[in-house]
């Protein structure tokens, strides 16, 4: 089937000149020469008529419906999102953490823990060392106090030990009192 939109054939020597003539290009003499030929040549006249008929159609802009642009926008956004997703796939692993409540909850939890430990002076049984339940915080937190209570037995017999070392001899009254303390403890 022949294409009805096809250009009619023009004289080979004038084909290019006819297109230039259509666009109004070329010198005046040249334009007059082409015009004279067109008036004499039926093929070239038909060719020029076809140019007048077809070329405006090629340049006219086609109005597209709004739905086309909506779809175009959606598809472009989807493609960009897909590309972004491929690029940063690991971010999807952290997606649940991107919401605001998780950092807020974490901050509140840490704040409660910190202030609880500081203000509660370690009396929070959940975190406290259960073996230290009978000891006050000021003893637990003070290395010297711990050393003191660890050495209490030795301090009670310090005089005797020093005597045996050839050191200072303490008054008898103190030793007697310490002895009574030891007996009471036993």
């Amino acid at each position: 089937m022949k294409n009805p939109a096809a250009l009619k054939s023009a004289c080979k020597d004038f084909e290019e000149d006819l297109v230039l003539h259509y666009y109004g290009e070329g010198s005046t003499a040249e334009r007059q020469r082409v015009a004279r030929h067109v008036s004499d040549c039926a093929c070239c006249r038909l060719f020029v008529d076809d140019l007048h008929r077809l070329l405006p159609r090629m340049t006219e802009s086609r109005e597209l419906p709004q739905s086309f642009w909506d779809n175009y926008f959606r598809e472009t956004v989807a493609k960009l999102a897909k590309q972004e997703e491929k690029k940063f796939w690991w971010r999807s692993l952290l997606a649940p953490m991107q919401s605001w409540w998780l950092p807020a909850f974490g901050t509140v939890a840490i704040a409660l823990l910190a202030f609880g430990l500081v203000l509660g002076k370690g009396k929070l049984t959940l975190f406290a060392d259960r073996s230290a339940a009978s000891l006050p915080q000021e003893v637990l937190a003070d290395g010297e106090q711990l050393e003191f209570f660890k050495s209490l037995d030795m301090l009670e017999s310090l005089d005797g030990l020093e005597e045996r070392e050839g050191g200072k001899v303490k008054p008898k009254s103190n030793q007697t009192r310490l002895l009574s303390m030891n007996q009471a403890a036993a």
Binding site: I110, A114, A141, S151, L155, E156, E165, A185
Partner: protein, 90 residues
Amino acid sequence: MKTRTISAWALGLFLWFSAYSAFAAAADWRNLSPKEKDRIQRNYQRWEKLPPQDKDHLRDEWNRYQRLPQDERERIKQRYDEDRRRRHND
């Protein structure tokens, strides 16, 4: 945005150090062996029942012990440990 990030970091660091210092305070106790902990607890309970003058006396003894030269303190401690072992064996 930058100010918010810096504030968040500052608050986080403050809270972290607060929590850390609270835990670190009892580090001496946590580093003790169960036997030492038991000894300290027993001695503390005994200490609680002592009359004030005995407490004062023991405090004085402790201060005196602390002022002794290091080698003497170690000798005394060693002798005390030997005595205790001997008593335990008897």
